[in-house]
Every structure is written in C-alpha cells, then in structure tokens.
Symmetry: C2
C-alpha cells in the first residue's frame, strides 16, 4: 500500500527551491541580496525613516559568498527573531496593505540555501525600539519548519535597525544583475540611499533622489469584490448576530447606506437578517452577488504606496542619465477586490538600446523584476502595443518603467519575478501605455523635425 505522509512548507521549498529563486548558486546570490534588501526597505518604512541600506558582498573562496545587508529600520522584536529567519511562512506582512514582502518566506529561503550549501547559520544583529541590540545565529530545522538557535548574545548595535549575514555557495558571475537590481531599486524607492560594496571596493552609493518619504500605506477593509466564500465565512464567524445591512457596511469599503439598500435589492436578501442565520446556499449567493453587483465604487487607495511623479522621474533621470518624456498614473482600480495602481514613466537616453520597441523595466510593489519576463503580464502587455504607430523606429532609444502596486500582486511563482495575467491589470496597463505612447509620439515628431531642420 502507498506510503502517505505530510511534508512541512520548509521541506516543500527545500525540494523545490528553484520556485523561490534558489535553484542554483549564481541565481541564489542574486535572490539572497534582493530578499534581504526588500526586508530592509520594508523595515525602514515601518520606522518612518529615510532608508539607508548597505549591501556587502564578499567572496570567501572561488565558490563561497558572504552577503551582509544592514539597515536603519525598525529592528525585529527579539521574541520573533528565531521564527522570522528559521521558519517558512512566518512573518509580519500578511495584512492587506502594500508591502514588498508578502509570504513570510524570502529570507528564510536564503537561510535554508546557505545552510544546505555551506552549513552556515544566518547571523542577525538587530536592535528594535527600547533595546540595545542582540546577535543571533540561527539554522532551520527543515523537516519540522522551525528555527534552531545556535547562539544568542547581547551585543550593542549603535542604531536601531538590523544587519543580516548569510553565507552560501555562489559566485559573482551575476554581479552585473546585482548592480542593476540596486540601481533599479533606487527608482522604485527614490527616498532610499543604497550602497553596494563587492570584495572591499565600493561599487555603488546612490540616492536618495528625493527627501520626501512615502505616506505609509494603511490596512483598509476589503472591497466587496474580494468576497469569496472563505473570506465571507471568516467575516461572518466573527459577528454572527450582526444584521446583513450593518455587516456589509462595516465589513467592506465602498459600501455606504445608500449602496447597501440597492445591493440587497439586487441580491434579493433581507437587510435585517443576522448574518449567522444565513444558510450556506444564501452565503454562496451573497458571495456571488457581491462580486457581480456593478454599483460599488472604485477602491480607496490608502492601502497603496505608488512611487509618484516627483521621485519616479528624478530617480530615472539620475540613474540612467536620461530625460523623462512623461509620467502617468492610472486611478486606483481593483482586481478580485484587491486595490491596485499602475503608474509609469517613458524616458529617452543613450543608455537605452536602440529598438522599435521600448526597453521595459518592470516593478511590483516598488521591487524591480529582473527575471522571468517571458510569461510576465507587464512584458506581454508592452509587446502587444504597436509602438510603430507612435513613431518608434529601429533607431529609437526609449525605455518604459512600469510599476504595478497592489495589496496583492498575482505573482506567477514564489520567486516574485513575474506577474500573472489578470484582465483588470492588463486593461489598466494598456491604457497607461497608450497615453505614454501618445506623449512619446509628440517627442518623436519633434526629434524628427529637429533632424530635418539640421540637415537643411
């Protein structure tokens, strides 16, 4: 008879580490850097401080790398440090507001990979508020998905924040990607200062392009279109005696006294029913109706943190020595009830390759996506635009920087490098690209006229 068993999520990602970006030593070094930098930036925004993030990469041998990322963020509360690093699917970013992190997996994968390739524990030196600093060495028990704390020492850290060091098998063959990742990170987070040192020499010290800190995104109530049966069941179970009308107005955003009366008519449900008394069929019907009713407003965007025109344009111009033709941002929309905004910049400059299709730089929740463009929805949307009708030709040197931000990014895989196809997102992206294209065509015309003039 077959042998049945359960595996832990750590075991799942150990066996399938390529899904999370840790399939081989050269991509693993890149993934470790980006998972740690993402965490550093999230933490600085929690602390409401201008981020200063330093990345140090050391070659310990021809195939061993040590990566250290230090930040001036909010630190990590001591009681949560072991699990934050030594447990997969454990974290502080599960609430519905825009963060770079989302799974409780990223840095634990770097720890896991470092451990199975070099036997080294992760070293975490953190100072949260109201403390002076503590240093941990942590391994992960993969079969049980729990941390093994090798050592804990009180150790002063001069400032609040965190320093994480991981040792892993790897090499610097992807070094250009790491440099590019940090340069694009300063576009996604123009308020950050980022440093990169490789084997003792300073390779980068960039940003901030703006002193303005982003307004921290806040958790908002779900939009009605997010009401699948699981969400509904959870909301109902916390307040079964609440009447349907009050339940809807208080559980969801964009549902006011007026829209709720129209909605209950549309759904043929009695507004005074205590929601705990709804049968399973009625709940299924309610879920359906909430997703189909066309009268709910666009979502509130306070759970989002778009880059915004000033920082986006300045950072692109600084990092690429380019000139921005146009910035555009769509109004907040929702996909399956998850608020999102698509914004973008089109720029021209000699650092972009000449081509009749603009070079595309993708961002999701401010994080640059450098891999897996093949099936990525943003890439495919750019390819479907007919750029020739905006005047682009083989000598054109343009780039499009596209940022999708949402309380939930539909990533195609746990490595967070590629966005899945979602009709609402594609529609908004296409409209944005067309408006950027029209702005581009005016510039292309003007450039053509200028060349014409200069020949006469």
């Amino acid at each position: 008879t077959p042998d049945f068993m359960s595996i832990s999520p750590a075991e799942f990602f150990y066996r399938n580490r390529q899904m999370a970006g840790f399939g081989n030593p050269s991509v693993a070094v890149f993934s470790a850097v980006r998972e740690m930098v993402e965490n550093a930036l999230d933490a600085c925004e929690d602390a409401r401080r201008a981020p200063v993030v330093r990345v140090d990469v050391h070659s310990l041998s021809h195939d061993r790398i040590e990566v250290t990322v230090a930040d001036n963020g909010a630190g990590i509360p001591y009681e949560h440090v072991p699990e934050a690093f030594g447990r997969v699917l454990y974290g502080s970013k599960f609430a519905t507001r825009q963060r770079r992190g989302t799974f409780g997996l990223g840095v634990s994968m770097a720890v896991l990979y470092g451990q199975i390739t070099t036997d080294s524990p992760v070293i975490v030196h953190t100072r949260p508020p109201a403390s002076t600093g503590r240093r941990y060495e942590i391994l992960i028990d993969i079969e049980k998905n729990r941390p093994v704390v090798e050592s804990v020492t009180d150790m002063l850290r001069p400032q609040e924040g965190t320093t994480v060091t991981v040792r892993l098998k790897g090499d610097l063959r992807n070094r250009d990607r790491i440099v590019q990742y940090l340069r694009l990170t300063s576009v996604g987070s123009p308020h950050a200062r980022l440093g990169l040192t490789i084997d003792g020499s300073e390779v980068l010290d960039i940003g901030p392009a703006t002193r303005v800190l982003p307004t921290p995104p806040v958790v908002t109530r779900p939009h009605p279109r997010a009401a699948d049966l699981e969400l509904l069941r959870r909301l109902v179970s916390t307040r079964p005696t609440t009447r349907l009308r009050d339940f809807l107005v208080s559980s969801f955003q964009q549902v006011g006294r007026q829209s709720v009366s129209r909605f209950v008519q549309f759904a043929s449900l009695s507004p005074s029913r205590p929601v705990g008394t709804l049968s399973r069929d009625e709940l299924a019907h309610l879920s359906d109706a909430l997703q189909k009713y066309p009268g709910f407003g666009r979502p509130d965007a306070s759970s989002l943190s778009p880059i915004g025109q000033e920082g986006f344009v300045r950072a692109v111009e600084q990092v690429f020595s380019a000139s921005c033709v146009k910035y555009g941002a769509r109004r907040p929309a929702e996909w399956h009830g998850n608020p999102f905004i698509v914004e973008g910049v089109v720029a021209t400059g000699d650092s972009f390759p000449s081509s009749d299709v603009p070079q595309l730089y993708r961002f999701a929740n401010r994080v640059p996506l450098l891999y897996d463009a093949g099936d990525d929805a943003l890439q495919r949307t750019v390819k479907r635009i007919d750029w020739k009708r905006y005047g682009l030709g083989p000598d054109s040197r343009f780039a499009v920087f596209l940022h999708l931000c949402s309380t939930r990014i539909p990533y195609r895989a746990a490595g967070k490098q590629s966005v899945d196809t979602v009709p609402e997102i594609e529609a908004e992206t296409t409209r944005l690209l067309r408006s950027l294209g029209r702005a581009l065509s005016r510039v292309v015309e003007r450039q053509a006229r200028a060349r014409h003039e200069s020949r006469r």
Copy 2:
C-alpha cells in the same frame, strides 16, 4: 510593533492560488481536470493495470462546472482519504521515483477552489483493495490545513479504483485546451484509454495505442551528486556508527568498492571514520567532494519511466494522423544527482502549422505541459536550435514532441506547467534536438527531391 504570525500552507496557496493554476475560473477548470487525471493515471500504474480514465464535464449553470474523473486504479486506503483531499502537502508521492504527482497539493487545490467559489465539498468514491467502496464528502479547513469530513457512507463501487467529483465556478471557454490536454495525455501515456464527455456528449474516446504496460519505476538510492548538506545530515543521523567507506557504498548508487577508495583519497578523508564522528566542517567538505568528484557513473534509470519508442511513435501517429520521422532518447543523466532522461519524436503531417520552426509539444513525467511556454527551458532550447540548417523553411510542417522524465522535475511554479533552466537538462535536450534535426534534414531533402522530380 508589527503583528507576527504563521500561515498554513493551505492559506499560502489560498492567497496565491494563481501560482498553482487556480487564478481564475477558466484556467481553474483546466487545472482541476489535469490534476485529477494525473492522479488517476498514477493510481492505475500503482495497480499495474491498463488505465481506463473517464472525464465528465457538466455545465451546472452558465458559470458553474462539475468535473468528475473516474479510474480503475488502486483506490485510496480509507484512513488516508480525508487528508489526501483536505490537506495541502499531504500525499503518497514523495519518494524518489518518477510519478506525475509530486507535491501533495494538486487535487487539494481543486477542492479548495471549488469550496471558495461554490461552497461544494469534493465527493470521493473509492474502492481500495480488500474493500467494497466508500463515499466521502470533504471540505478543507484552510486556516488549519486539515480536512472537514462532511459525510462518509459505505457505498459499493463495482471495481477497484476512484471517482472524484469537484464543483467549481468556471466555464467551458477553455474546452479546446481540455480536449488537447487529453489527446496529448494519450501520447504521454500510450497504454491508457481516455474518455471525455462534455454536457452529455462524448467528445473523445482514445487509446490505448499500445497494450504494453510501462515497467513500474522503483525507488533507488540517491546519486552522490544529490548530497547537499541536508541530505547528508539525514543519512548520517540514521547510522552514525557506520564507517565512511561502508556508509558511502550503501547510501549512494554508483559508488562501488573501487570508486569509494579513489573517492576518499580525492576527498582526503579516512575511510574508517564512523560518520557520526565527522565534524560539521568535515561533513561540509564531504558534501562538496561528493558533488565535485568526476568519477561516479551515470545514474541507474530504474527510477524512471520513459515512454519508449513503440508507444510514443504509435500514439503521435494516431492522435495527429502524422508520420514519425524519428524517435530519439538520450542515455540516463543526472542533474544535481536526480536521474533524468530526455526522449523525443519529430513528426510531419498536415495537422501541424507550417513554419520554419517546428511546433513543440512538451511533456514532463508523461504529463503534457500546455501553458507557460515563455520561460520554459524546453521551449527555449528548441528556439535556440537553428532549424534552417536542417532545411526547414516557411512551408515545413513539422512537430517536435519532447519528454523530460526525472525523479525530480525543476518546475518553475506549483502549477507544473513550465520547466526551469538547468544546464545538464538543456545540454541533453540540445543534443537530442540536433540528432532529431539531422534525421529531419534527410526527410526535407527527400521531400524537396520528390517535388523537384514531380515538376519535371
């Protein structure tokens, strides 16, 4: 202070269901069918019977579908039924031999999706050996990742095997993909008979193309190149007093008395050390040496189940009314110590589009891959071949059927539709494609001569 928590793997895949192929209703219907058909075929091979698998798809309404898959497989032991369907990362296919299933996730995702869109439990009617049949209705408690058994009833099932029914939000806009999936499944599993009925009308009844049943793959010892530190640590912990030489010979395949003596010299380790006394540095060194030592043989292929020439060729010719130009198979190789074989067929026929690049049909562990070709390693390897040097032109009508089978497929995402880039796999695939290309060029020449003759 931030709010830390753990989420269950079911919660992870509920929030990120697009990673597993359940991101929207039309892809969900496809994914439900394929996850259930994969399970049915695995089960029939367990039972050593020629598979007879019937798929029934019913439109319950304009946006509700019921999918039923019945098989004559080995059934499911009663005590494991609730968790097999109501728990994510629970299954019987974690051992290292080639199976279609691998994560303990597939059918539980169909259950989860059906439940959050329609509130319906999965219905499982199974008859394992030494029993007469039992019917279960199961839901999944997503937050706790455990089954909720709504009902269990003894109910006779005339034959050994399993029938699974799932109800989900969906539509038949992807119906052609489902038909194509089953037709290609009969190429991957030519020994199977497959039926498809949609809304009462029989759409397909195909196979078997061969009466020969595949030899069941068996679990083999790991290859030394699989020895990362986690695997080594686990092997050592079960037998710490065993001496290094005996430990290596008995723990790994391809390590005999002679090769082990040369290896311990290469690794500068004493062959008589009890492995439990090796320090962590020595274990790290041993892991490194096992992966670098060039003297271990190619892996034993008894854990694999390639389709083989007779079945592969016949099924392609039957399903596509095509004529096979050539079948090829590479010798067993390994990637990170995982045995694999690449085999393929190149065929010509009017059902293939005319193009100077052959149409590619991909298979992994006998399962057709229909989505996510953009970043897929097999697709990219085919694109890198210069088919023009084999004589293909815009009027050529050729197709390549490529099958990668391994004890571990490096899938890019949990939806199992796309294979990650692995140098060893790409190298073997490229060599196979070139040999198929050379065979193709002889056919192209002959076809060109024939056209030339007929014009004179």
